[in-house]
Each structure stands twice: as structure tokens, then as C-alpha cells.
């Protein structure tokens, strides 16, 4: 039994994969870093340059990044150009792992400073962890300049000509590289599993089974939370804790609420308790079963597409796009398997027709 478990554990992390998406993830996210993450992150840091260092509180990110926050004005060009250069090199795949590590740590530094004083950016927290995983994971050099140079070096040393008959598939095989242990992909999926499961568990942990009743969702969607429009950041209280710290306040302030947009349809046409309860239960179930992504590529696809539908719904209802989660979902789908899933009814129909006697 233990031997089988041990074998399953090893297979889970170290089973070799040839056609993995790590190269594609690296290229797309590094490009995205140039277009979005770096301007955003350095913009945050630039705004914080004048802030008294005493106003920052340590977090895991700042501790890992080591460099004190905020940086000096003179260090800003180093941070900015260093990030752009590392993203460019990560994208083309030159000094790939070093570039990914610098990019991941640089973004960790910039965003953790923002998290100390302003807010926690959940999407970018996940993306920068993906960069750090890619910096170490086997297979992230797929489709890189490093790989191309390695092929050329190998050919020159052996006087071999691997690309002598350069068919497209042959070139693709070389650029993809050898089969590698799949722990990189499993770890990136783990980020999703932890965040989604955490979201489900948090709802149960902080609200108990009451979250099922849909009142919280109704609060954020039917316009109740906007009753006090233009009021600066509301906080909510639980009168049960009014006496918890009587020297602080007598109201029992518990946490902040959100000031999201809500689509008018939820106030005008779908303002039913049963509707909000049904959506709450569906959301909770989807979040709690995230671990099914590891069962098979087919189930992973189904789960990720369901998560995509959830994010698109949230985008429509609350104008919270979760664009980076959606991008990662698109990169993690198994497209050959998806093609088989989509064409399955057609193939079945054709097979039935071919078996039908003329």
C-alpha cells in the first residue's frame, strides 16, 4: 500500500511530459509583463517614493525581496529598466532562468510594497509566483533562444545536422525540448487549486453555512452596498463584538466591505432570494472541488472552463474582470484534449453512420 502511494506520489510530480505548455506560458506572461505588469508595478512604486519608511509594514514579499522599501529615487531606473530587460530576455528565452527569477523577484518587490500601504492585488500575486516557478521548473526553456543555441552547439560539436531535413514537426520537437518531469505544471495548477479552494474554505470559515443563503451575494449585487454612495470605504461591524475592545470603539468593527459595481439587472429583474442562494451554492461548490484538476486532462479542461465561466459572470455582474486568471486558464487548457472533447459528438455520429448498414 505504502509502495503504491509512494509510486503515485512520484508519478504525480515526476511523470515525464513532452508537450507541456511551460514555454508558451513563459512567452505570453513575459510579453504581458512588458505591456501591463511592469508599467503598473513601477507606477505604484513611483507613487510611494515620498512615503516615510515607517509607514510600511513587512509582509512575506518584502521579506523575500530583501531590498528595503521604498527604494531611493536614484534606484528607480535600475528597477524599471532591470524589469523590462528581464521580461524581454524571459520572453525570447535568453538567460531564461536568470531572467525569470529577476522578473519574478522584481515584481514581488514592487507589488509587495503596494500591498503594505494600499491593497492586496490577488491576480498579480499569482502571476509573479508563476514566474518564480518557471525560473526553476524543467521545461520552461521550451521555444527559447537558449534552446536554439543549445541545438546549434550540439550540432557543431557532433558535426551532426539535426535540422538537416527541417520539417515543421521536427523543428517543433527540437524547440519544445526533451520530455521533462511535470512538477512545474503541477505547481502552477496548485496555485489555482489553493486560491480557489481557499476562497471556498474562507466563505465557510468566516460565514459558516450562512454563505449558502445568498444574502452576502445579494448585498453586493442588488445595490444594497451602494446605499451610502460616495462614502469613503465602508467597514462593517458585528454587534456581538461591540464589547471586545471597549477602549477602542464600542461598535465591534470587523472588516471592510467592497465597493464593486453591480449590474442593474440584479436589482431590477433578478432580485430574488432563491437566485442569489443558487448562485452562492454553485460558486461555493465550484471553489471547493478545485482539486479535481489533477484527475485527468479532460476533467481539468472542464473545471478550468467552468472557472472561466465564473470569472466572466463576475466580470459582467461586478465589473471585476480577473483578466489574469482568465489568461492563465487559457494557457493551462489542454487543447488536443479539448479538440477531442468538442468533436466527440461529431465523431460518435460519424461512427454510428458508418456502422449503419446501407
Amino acid at each position: 500500500m505504502i509502495a503504491r502511494l509512494d509510486q503515485a506520489w512520484k508519478m504525480f510530480w515526476f511523470k515525464r511530459q513532452h508537450w507541456h505548455p511551460l514555454g508558451l506560458i513563459r512567452i505570453v506572461l513575459a510579453y504581458r509583463a512588458i505591456k501591463r505588469y511592469i508599467p503598473e508595478a513601477t507606477g505604484f512604486v513611483r507613487k510611494e517614493l515620498h512615503v516615510d519608511p515607517a509607514h510600511f509594514f513587512d509582509n512575506v514579499g518584502s521579506t523575500l525581496a530583501i531590498v528595503p522599501y521604498p527604494p531611493s529615487q536614484s534606484a528607480m531606473p535600475i528597477l524599471t529598466y532591470g524589469l523590462y530587460l528581464s521580461a524581454l530576455l524571459a520572453m525570447v528565452g535568453f538567460f531564461t532562468r536568470t531572467s525569470l527569477a529577476i522578473l519574478g523577484l522584481g515584481l514581488l518587490y514592487a507589488y509587495s510594497g503596494h500591498a503594505m500601504r494600499v491593497g492586496f492585488n490577488h491576480q498579480n500575486a499569482m502571476i509573479l509566483q508563476v514566474f518564480l516557478i518557471l525560473a526553476l521548473a524543467p521545461g520552461s526553456k521550451a521555444w527559447s533562444l537558449d534552446r536554439l543555441l543549445a541545438i546549434a552547439r550540439f550540432s557543431w560539436k557532433r558535426k551532426a545536422k539535426p535540422l538537416q531535413r527541417p520539417g515543421l514537426l521536427r523543428i517543433a520537437r527540437h524547440m519544445q525540448g526533451p520530455a521533462v518531469p511535470r512538477w512545474g505544471l503541477q505547481l502552477i495548477l496548485a496555485l489555482f487549486v489553493v486560491v480557489y479552494t481557499g476562497a471556498g474554505v474562507s466563505k465557510l470559515r468566516y460565514s459558516g453555512y450562512q454563505w449558502y443563503d445568498g444574502q452576502t451575494l445579494a448585498y453586493y449585487l442588488d445595490g444594497t452596498h451602494q446605499a451610502e454612495k460616495k462614502i469613503s470605504q465602508p467597514f462593517f461591524a458585528d454587534p456581538a463584538y461591540a464589547d471586545a475592545f471597549p477602549w477602542k470603539d464600542d461598535v465591534g468593527l470587523v472588516d471592510h466591505s467592497y465597493g464593486n459595481y453591480s449590474h442593474p439587472i440584479f436589482k431590477e429583474k433578478l432580485n430574488y432570494a432563491w437566485f442569489f442562494a443558487a448562485v452562492s451554492i454553485a460558486t461555493l461548490l465550484l471553489e471547493l472541488v478545485a482539486i479535481v484538476v489533477y484527475i485527468s486532462p479532460e476533467i481539468r479542461n472542464l473545471y478550468l472552463l467552468s472557472a472561466m465561466a465564473m470569472h466572466l459572470s463576475i466580470g459582467f455582474a461586478m465589473n471585476l474582470s480577473f483578466s489574469e486568471y482568465r489568461l492563465l486558464i487559457l494557457l493551462l487548457l489542454s487543447y488536443p484534449v479539448l479538440w477531442m472533447q468538442i468533436t466527440w459528438p461529431i465523431r460518435k455520429l460519424l461512427k454510428r453512420q458508418s456502422l449503419t448498414p446501407a
Binding site: 512615503v51 512575506v60 509566483q129 444574502q215 456581538a240 470587523v254 471585476l320
Partner: protein
């Protein structure tokens, strides 16, 4: 476990139970010269700080059932020290950013009920810039004629 610490998250967004009956409040910060002069609003956003961050890192939740910070065994002394640190950082930053303006010598933090009905802001503390001292629950009233800080709620 269960507390957000960048970049690690327990994804507690929208997880706290809120109903239409849940009372809601807003922080207000005013500043004056400490000598009886007319107080004025000192918006948090003046120095780019968020009220969420203030709550998470300095104020703390009254309930341990939160994915943000709950200070176990909190005491008036520990709370005052946190408030003093945060408001000192706030004032230092404010002075750097508004070098051409006269800085307030005393800050007052208020908590105002905004739902289910609007209430008169209640004073939480005074902070004196001179010696960084904090006085909890001072006996003062919201300055007549001062309009509360209105800004868009953070998403």
C-alpha cells in the same frame, strides 16, 4: 494561517457574511493646530494610503473570525503604540508631500455610522504630533459645519 500576507492569500474576498441589516461605518480623520483652532479634514488619500491598509496593519478587527488582522491579547497600550506609529508615518509623509502647507499639530480619528442610519461621528483617538502621544476616546464633538470626507469606495 487564514490571514493574508502578500503574495500568499486565503482568498477571503466577499467571504464575510453581510446582510442588509449589518451596520456599517466609515473612518474620518481631522487635523487642527491643537490650540482650539478650526479643524479640517485630512483625507487618507492625501498621502495615497488606503483605509483598508490602515485597518489591516494598525487598527485590527474586533473579531478573530477575519482573514485580515486580529491582534490577539490586544491592550490599550499596544493599540496606542500601533496608532502612534501609523499616524507618525502618516504625518511624516504628509509633510513631505505638502511642504508648502502648515501641518496639523493634532489629528483626531473618528468613526461614523453610515448604515442603517447616519450617526454623529464618534471620536476614537487624538494624536499629538509634538510628542507622538495618543489619547484614546477623547471627549470631543464632531466640529460643527465640517462636512465628512466623501470619496468613492475602494473596490
Amino acid at each position: 494561517m487564514g490571514v493574508e500576507d502578500f503574495p500568499l492569500t486565503c482568498a477571503g474576498m466577499f467571504a464575510q457574511q453581510i446582510t442588509p441589516q449589518t451596520p456599517r461605518y466609515a473612518f474620518q480623520l481631522t487635523g487642527d493646530d491643537g490650540l482650539g483652532g478650526q479643524p479640517r479634514l485630512v483625507p487618507f488619500r492625501d498621502i495615497g494610503a488606503s483605509k483598508r491598509s490602515f485597518f489591516v496593519h494598525a487598527y485590527g478587527s474586533a473579531s478573530p473570525n477575519t482573514c485580515h488582522t486580529y491582534f490577539y491579547n490586544d491592550t490599550p497600550e499596544a493599540f496606542s503604540a500601533r496608532m502612534s506609529d501609523w499616524l507618525t508615518g502618516f504625518m511624516n509623509t504628509w509633510k513631505r508631500k505638502h511642504a508648502d502647507q502648515e501641518a496639523p499639530q493634532r489629528l483626531t480619528l473618528w468613526l461614523e455610522q453610515i448604515y442603517p442610519e447616519r450617526g454623529e461621528p464618534i471620536p476614537v483617538l487624538h494624536y499629538r504630533a509634538k510628542d507622538k502621544a495618543v489619547e484614546l476616546k477623547p471627549k470631543v464633538q464632531w466640529p460643527a459645519g465640517l462636512v465628512e470626507e466623501n470619496e468613492k469606495a475602494e473596490d
